[in-house]
Symmetry: D2
Subunit: 89 residues, 4 copies
């Protein structure tokens, strides 16, 4: 599982966010700040992808191989939902 990798990335992202706050405070050039925000967003997307990967390879497999049809539907609906949400950004 990617738990350790995800934690490390989250810490990096936290540092990145603090750096952006400093840029805002220092009244840095707007476009440079927006670019840094876009870089953080890209890093967050990668974290989401890692977590989804873990989820597919654990909970989703368990639910689909299990006998609880309601639980299986719930788990599959959730994947659909976060996909739709991602498309919306």
């Amino acid at each position: 599982m990617h738990n350790k990798k995800v934690m490390q990335r989250m810490l990096t992202i936290e540092g990145h966010i603090k750096g952006i706050s400093r840029m805002v405070e220092n009244d840095d050039y707007c476009i440079d700040i927006i670019r840094q925000i876009q870089a953080v967003q890209s890093a967050l997307n990668k974290v989401s992808a890692l977590i989804l990967d873990d989820h597919l390879n654990s909970c989703v497999i368990t639910a689909i191989q299990g006998e609880d049809v309601g639980e299986r539907e719930r788990v599959l609906d959730e994947i659909g939902e976060i996909f739709s949400q991602t498309s919306k950004g």
Copy 2:
């Protein structure tokens, strides 16, 4: 399955695209054209979501309940891939 619904939406999107081409041809106001493109993008996202829903409720269930571990991995990796791709827009 959503096949019929998807077909209908694809036809609507095709008409929408033709309308946008006409707007470009007529040299319509740029922002109006961009807004129409954004509306088509949103419609395409909904089509993708419907197709993914079908996919999760057919191929994914079949693969995970099947005994071919390689096939299962392949199917789960694909979900991860299109999710990452969507995050990139």
Copy 3:
């Protein structure tokens, strides 16, 4: 201006959309269809970028150099709006 280039790309996108409709009709593999939809989305993003570029280099310059402050605000607000909308996918 990019008008000709945009028209050509719109025609290509129209053909692409028709191809996707055929894939849906033929009941092609869901993930392949979703990937084609993502390719169209990417092509539409490029068209939007071209149109925005034209817009910035014509209407936006005219409005900002003009003396109508209301018009200038309107034009700048529109840029902000389509940016926010894009972020939402």
Copy 4:
């Protein structure tokens, strides 16, 4: 200008990121974590929009009203660039 509002939002986002790190550490449900990441992405989009708004109403107006054509082009190209980047997520 939105500098104060942006700073406040960045601090909120920093807290949000820390909360997500804790969720990862506690091995919370994957989908819940992904949803929180999506909420942060949405908050970052809003910050970008505020900063772009400031930028359009200051640097962009100055550059377009100025006499340095190269500078004007540079500023307009940057807008196009961050727009394209946003479309890519």
